[in-house]
C-alpha cells in the first residue's frame, strides 16, 4: 500500500464528514456567505446545517456572526485561517492518495 494512501487514516475527521466537507468547500470559495446561501448550495435541512456549523465553529474552522440586513436577520459564516489551512491540507492529502490509488505506477516509480 502506498504511503500517501495510508495518510487517509490521518485525515481531519471534522472536515471528512460529507456534509461538513460540502460546507467547508463552499465557504472556501467565498469571503463569507449567509445561512440561506449555504442551505441552497448544500441542500441540507436547517437543523442539519445548524448542527454541522456548530461543530465547525466549535473546532474554530468557521466564524459565525448574527446580524441584520435591513430588518431581515442574517447568519453570516466565514472560514477562519485555521479552517482554510485545514481544508487545503485535507484536499491535498485526499487528492494525492486517490491519485496514487488509481495510478499505482506513480508509487512504483518512487
Amino acid at each position: 500500500m502506498s504511503s500517501r494512501l495510508r495518510e487517509i487514516a490521518h485525515l481531519d475527521r471534522v472536515i471528512h464528514e460529507p456534509a461538513r466537507l460540502m460546507i467547508v468547500a463552499t465557504l472556501y470559495l467565498v469571503k463569507e456567505a449567509d445561512f440561506l446561501y449555504l442551505q441552497n448550495q448544500t441542500d441540507l435541512t436547517k437543523g442539519n446545517l445548524s448542527s454541522h456549523l456548530a461543530k465547525l465553529e466549535e473546532s474554530e474552522y468557521v466564524e459565525i456572526e448574527k446580524t441584520y440586513r435591513g430588518k431581515i436577520p442574517m447568519t453570516v459564516c466565514r472560514l477562519t485561517k485555521k479552517g482554510r489551512a485545514s481544508f487545503r491540507a485535507y484536499e491535498t492529502a485526499m487528492r494525492g492518495a486517490l491519485f496514487e490509488s488509481v495510478n499505482p505506477a506513480v508509487e512504483a516509480s518512487r
Partner: protein, 210 residues
C-alpha cells in the same frame, strides 16, 4: 458522499450567474460605450459641441462604470439575497473580475480612439472586428457555459459568432461593427432580463424575508 468537491465548486461559482443581473449590467455598459461610437461616427467634428460632448460622455461613462458594482450590490440585496442567499466573492476572484472588466473597457475605448484619431488606415482591419470579436465572445461564452453550466452564455456566444460572420460578409464597415456590438449587447440585455424574470418567478423569498 452526496457531492464531490469539484461539483460543489462548480455550483458555488454558478451562483454569480444565477440571477442574470450581471448580464444586464454588461448590456448597459456596452450600449453606453457603443453610443459614443455612434456619436463619433455620425457627429460633425467641426461642431462646437462635439469635443466637450465626448469629454463629458467619457467622464459620465467612467463614473457609471466605477459605481456599477455598488448599483449591482444594491440590486442583489433586493432581488437575489432574499431568495438564494448572500455570498461575497473571495478577494482573488473580486480582483480578477474587476481587472478583466477594467481592461475590456479600456481596450475597447483605446481601440475606438485609435481608429478615430490615429493617423493610419483603419478601413482594412475594422471590417474584421465583428468576426474577431464574435469569436472572442463565442469562446468566452462557451467556456462559461461549459464550466459553470450557464446555457444562456452558450446561446449568446453562438449568436455573437453568427452575427459577426454575417456582418463581416454583408456589411464590413465601421457602422457594421457598431451594429454587431449593439446586437451582442442587446443579446446580453435580453438574456439578463429573461433570467431575472425567471429567477424572481421560480425562486421564492426565504421565510425570514417575507
Amino acid at each position: 458522499m452526496p457531492d464531490s468537491i469539484g461539483q460543489v465548486r462548480s455550483r458555488a461559482q454558478s451562483f454569480w450567474y444565477r440571477d442574470g443581473l450581471s448580464d444586464i449590467l454588461i448590456g448597459i455598459i456596452g450600449l453606453l460605450q457603443n453610443g459614443l461610437t455612434l456619436v463619433m461616427h455620425f457627429g460633425n467634428e467641426q461642431s462646437w459641441w462635439y469635443q466637450p460632448f465626448i469629454v463629458v460622455y467619457l467622464l459620465l461613462f467612467f463614473l457609471f462604470a466605477a459605481r456599477a458594482p455598488r448599483v449591482m450590490a444594491a440590486m442583489r440585496e433586493r432581488i437575489t439575497y432574499p431568495r438564494s442567499g448572500y455570498a461575497a466573492p473571495g478577494e482573488a476572484q473580486r480582483i480578477l473580475r474587476n481587472t478583466i472588466v477594467a481592461l475590456a473597457i479600456l481596450a475597447i475605448f483605446g481601440l475606438l480612439l485609435a481608429t478615430r484619431y490615429g493617423h493610419f488606415d483603419t478601413g482594412r482591419w475594422v471590417q474584421e472586428t465583428p468576426v474577431v470579436g464574435g469569436l472572442f465572445f463565442g469562446v468566452v461564452g462557451i467556456y462559461v457555459a461549459v464550466r459553470y453550466g450557464v446555457l444562456r452564455y452558450l446561446l449568446i456566444g453562438l449568436f455573437s459568432i453568427l452575427l459577426g460572420l454575417a456582418i463581416n460578409i454583408e456589411y464590413p464597415t465601421w457602422l457594421g461593427t457598431a451594429i454587431w456590438l449593439v446586437g451582442v449587447e442587446c443579446a446580453f440585455l435580453c438574456a439578463g432580463g429573461i433570467t431575472v424574470w425567471n429567477f424572481v418567478r421560480t425562486t421564492p423569498l426565504s421565510a425570514d424575508a417575507k
